[in-house]
Assembly symmetry: C2
Homo-oligomer: 312 residues x 2
């Protein structure tokens, strides 16, 4: 692991990156037989996603199995991507850990590399926490990171964390940290919640987590998407993003949504990986880290047939 100065002082004139927009892919993480990260395959996958039109990579999210990677691995992923020539401005890594201290460490490390921003999970071990407690947590993280380059995107995924960033809390955070709290990834799939945020906070960079909601979202002012299945269809998602106001918008939407819908019953992470394994002819791609389960051979066959039927 490279030694990075976590305590690097903010240089005078350091500028917070412009808010992200477009198609951002939560790149999946391939593993070798011994479960270590296959960096060669990973970097190639990330570069292909960008070549296929992704605006950037929301690495180290749920789809990336980031919560199965240890602290050192998470730092190494970012370092390797930057070393391989990926622009840090095309990186929006997840840095939210269970504890404040580890979250601050990863966030400072990411900022030191010059990333576009970071996605913040709530402190997900706890249940039934109050909005006041969650506000205090975010405020403390911002204070401890202590860097005006910090651009923070809240990561809303109540099905996984049991914690929801309430619209009221988001309003308070945006009011008190207007330059830092710049957006939100919404993995809840709750359209009412999405619409509430888009209506109440124009200019706040909201990313639904599905290309099925991209057209709807863009019409209401979303910033783009961060979608698991963009791992297998970055080009289709980009075409829809570019064409959402055009004549073909509905066709592009239907095509992208159909390809996404077939994956859902198999689980996003093993499903996306199985598709990549088949497409690249590398069964290793399908491997996941425990406690997740790789698809069975029969599930893989069913999934691939469904993808083909959907035009993928």
């Amino acid at each position: 692991m490279l030694e990075l100065k976590h305590t690097a002082p903010v240089t005078e004139g350091a500028v917070r990156p412009e808010a992200a927009s477009g198609v951002w892919v939560p790149a999946t993480t391939p593993f070798r037989a011994n479960l270590s990260i296959d960096f060669e395959r990973y970097i190639a996958h990330c570069q292909r996603l960008l070549a296929d039109g992704a605006h950037g990579l929301a690495v180290l999210g749920t789809t990336s199995e980031a919560n199965s990677l240890d602290l050192g691995e998470r730092e190494m992923v970012l370092e390797r991507l930057v070393k391989a020539g990926v622009s840090p401005l095309q990186l929006l890594p997840g840095t939210g850990m269970a504890s404040m201290g580890d979250t601050v460490r990863l966030t400072r490390h990411a900022i030191a590399l010059g990333v576009r921003g970071v996605l913040l999970l709530p402190p997900f071990y706890y249940k039934n926490i109050s909005d006041e407690g969650l506000y205090a947590y975010v405020a403390e993280v911002i204070k401890r990171v202590g860097d005006k380059r910090l651009a923070l995107y809240l990561y809303n995924f109540p099905q996984m964390t049991t914690i929801r960033w309430s619209p009221a809390l988001i309003g308070l955070l945006v009011q008190d940290f207007p330059d830092t709290i710049v957006g939100l990834k919404d993995s809840s799939g709750d359209i009412d919640y999405l619409d509430t945020l888009l209506e109440r906070y124009p200019g706040f960079a909201v990313f639904p987590s599905s290309e099925s909601l991209l057209l709807h979202g863009m019409r209401k002012g979303a910033a783009g998407i961060i979608s698991a299945t963009a791992n297998t269809n970055a080009a289709g998602c980009r075409a829809l993003y570019d064409g959402w106001q055009g004549e073909d918008a509905l066709d592009l939407h239907k095509k992208a949504a159909a390809l996404r819908d077939v994956v859902a019953p198999f689980g996003w992470i093993p499903g996306v990986k199985a598709i990549l394994a088949a497409r690249e002819g590398t069964p290793d791609w399908a491997r996941v880290r425990p406690p997740l389960d790789e698809l069975s051979d029969q599930q893989k066959t069913e999934l691939l047939a469904a993808v083909e039927a959907a035009g993928g």
Copy 2:
């Protein structure tokens, strides 16, 4: 932080500690105004618990706010306790992190210090994981720790993790790793589950998480308790443990249970801390780390009145 050899080879003849039993306290962690750990107060608290009769300390559990401590702090807690003269055989730390790698790191660190065993949370970020996936996770952790001194206690707390160690999975793990999987802490409060484990796996060291279940548990073959409220009543819990077969058992049970029951409505962590703050005349004791909330002044007054009414 002390430099410990995480890769220390297992010495020939190294022996796995005897299974734990008795009253083990998940010691709470006091914080200074800047939220750093107040080690002086912490060590004094731990030493008092042992002096009051606790058989050992199940440090770095939920009640300890371990999931609000970063990796380095968790290592430092153990190091400071041992340095202060607490026998490592009286330590049963939680080492379960969200990721396998961080879990292995903490577990090896704890074993190197000579602890009695470790409490393992399931990989708590994920939801709806299969027993097969959870089995693979535990097997991989054991393999990577690679130390026959490892004595592993499963930590069952589905209200917090959403993951339950099913009796069937426990049976498989005990069968395949009979020398390593030695016990379980059950924080579910589910008496049927507790009874099932005690009946099905005699000799497996099961600890309910409440002194209210200590008498019931001991009659059915439990190993003891690991209870949050033992932080404020270690002596009462010890008296019940020692006297569960005696004439006074029911009285001791009622007294301990009454003192516990008054804390429940206030939340175990802020409640226990508020009692310690009042008892020691040190308001700082009541502080918690975000996202948890300290009790309000009114809540503290109500809690302390209830404790007094319950004879505490």
